[in-house]
Amino acid sequence: MDKIIYVRFTGLEHDRIKEVIAHYPDLNWELYIGLSKINPDSLGAYTRHGVNSFPLKNDIVDILNCRMPDYDPDYRATFDDVTDLRLKQLWSSKNKKWLINWSGGIDSTVVVTSILKNLKPADFKDIIVACSRFSVYENPNFFFNFIKPNFSIIDSSQLDVNQEVLNNYIVIDGEMADQLYGGGLNTKTIDDDEVDFLSKDWRRDPDKLLSIMESKFDKKFAELYYENMKTRIESCSIPIETYYDFFWWDTFDSKWAPIKFRPLLIYNSSKNIADAVVNNNPVHWYDSQEYQLWAMNNNTPGIKYNIDLGERKLASKKYIYNFTNDSYYYKFKLKMDSLSRQSAKTFFAVTNDYTKLYLDTDLDQILELLPTHINQGN
């Protein structure tokens, strides 16, 4: 290992880390560290399109092969089209049994629905569903009507996605759907009674955003955030008009790589995760070119979302409803925190040979290698 390719927000405020980054006072540290407060669940932020205005290098975007596809305004495929296509693409290249992580939430329920809709019952013997009792409580009708009768089930709360598991299964999760839909609606930044302003033009009406962010953080951070977003948005050619688009862009652009990396880092107890990265396993269901093209073209009320709290991730809910006819799930199901995500282990950095480094045991290495990851004008 000779350089760091990834760091988590958590740890940047460690005293010894602060001593290192103090050597680079011209970089945007105050903004970057503040981003972790907007979304405390987030591991990090790396831009994958346009200018890199963050203080860390974004090599990880190419390492994980997650540059953004070129925007195509003529792309017309629907969510249903790209979901069915995703299933067919993955199934046709299947060389191991599938292990589906089903949380009971909307994203992973789309995955299982796609399997039930597109495959033959005889194919289900090659698919195992990993879930917990809380997955069942989150979506009991789907579990008892569709999962229990069709699939073998294992307890996800006991599952370590280690190399042995990855050798035997293609592990499939529902990651990156949040990035397709946009995270602004789901962060602590915007209360649900403030969502009306999301339909406003972000260029013409900066005041509402600035006042909300000032009330939650402080004025300086609010202005830094707005200006940084403005710089990032203006360096690309994708239409971003409303605040809904604005927040979608933030997560679609800067959270894609961290979220793509997250399952490898959190659910895998191995210190080195090279095999998992090289073999692209686990597979994130929503990590496809087609889903991203769909996301770029459908920031529209009635497709991705509507005003009511129950109408977030609307295209996904419609896809499920068209198969299950469960109107209660369609109307009242909300986006929930994934319980399993709350148990993240506290590594701080990853090196270019895919070794996780921890602040408590690997601090000397981290201090030595951290400067290799600082964005000094690349």
């Binding site: 409580y137 649900d192 009674d193 709290l309 209660y328 109307k331 009242f332 909300l334 929930m336």
Partner: protein
């Protein structure tokens, strides 16, 4: 609602807990027992993600203003205190309403009468189980009998009117039920052999 077979009118003078439904932004039902409102929340979790709100401590609470006939027209001022992303809300189960907000219900999108009838129906059966089959269900029994083993002395919870299996069957019917008439028939079938106390005998004319 007043004519609904399972509805019992009650004024809430002291403790008043509400189940808040965030999509419609209203209270679906009120009750004065935290124990029952919690059980009701769990039984209803197969349909809605509900949050328990104590409303009698709100600065503008008046028992004459809010009851189960009109609770769908009320919300709370401090919605931001609710963790909308948590299914279980363990450890912080009850939000205390600071003020109650009159928010007349818009019935163009949701059939609130139908939803309220379902919640009242479920509460009715939870109370039924509490009164008639409580021995295997109450927290004190679960805790104490775990080491007292009173069933070895012939004090078996199965000797109560509603035995443990029947209690489970009724709860399953409520948890998975989607249609009130069908679920009602299913439960009536389950209890058809019970000799019900007079109060219930009048409502369930089977025996």
């Amino acid at each position: 609602m007043i004519d609904f077979k399972y509805f019992d009118y009650k004024k809430f003078e002291n403790n008043a807990y509400a189940l808040y439904e965030p999509v419609i932004d209203c209270f679906l039902i009120l009750h004065d027992s935290l124990e029952y409102i919690t059980k009701l929340k769990y039984i209803l979790s197969s349909r809605y993600v509900l949050h328990i709100v104590q409303i009698n401590l709100a600065d503008n609470f008046l028992s004459s203003n809010i009851d189960n006939l009109c609770c769908e027209n009320w919300s709370l001022s401090n919605r931001s205190d609710i963790d909308f992303k948590s299914l279980t809300n363990e450890g912080n189960n009850t939000v205390i309403a600071k003020s109650l907000c009159y928010t007349p219900f818009d019935d163009s999108k949701y059939n609130i009468v139908k939803e309220k009838e379902w919640t009242v129906f479920c509460l009715y059966w939870l109370l039924f189980l509490g009164i008639n089959g409580a021995h295997g269900y109450s927290q004190i029994d679960l805790f104490l009998n775990d080491f007292l083993n009173l069933n070895e002395l012939g004090l078996d919870s199965n000797s109560s009117l509603v035995n443990d299996q029947l209690r489970k069957d009724i709860l399953r019917a409520l948890y998975f039920g989607r249609n009130l008439n069908d679920t009602e028939k299913e439960i009536e079938e389950l209890i058809k052999d019970l000799k019900l106390p007079f109060y219930y005998e009048q409502r369930h004319q089977h025996g």
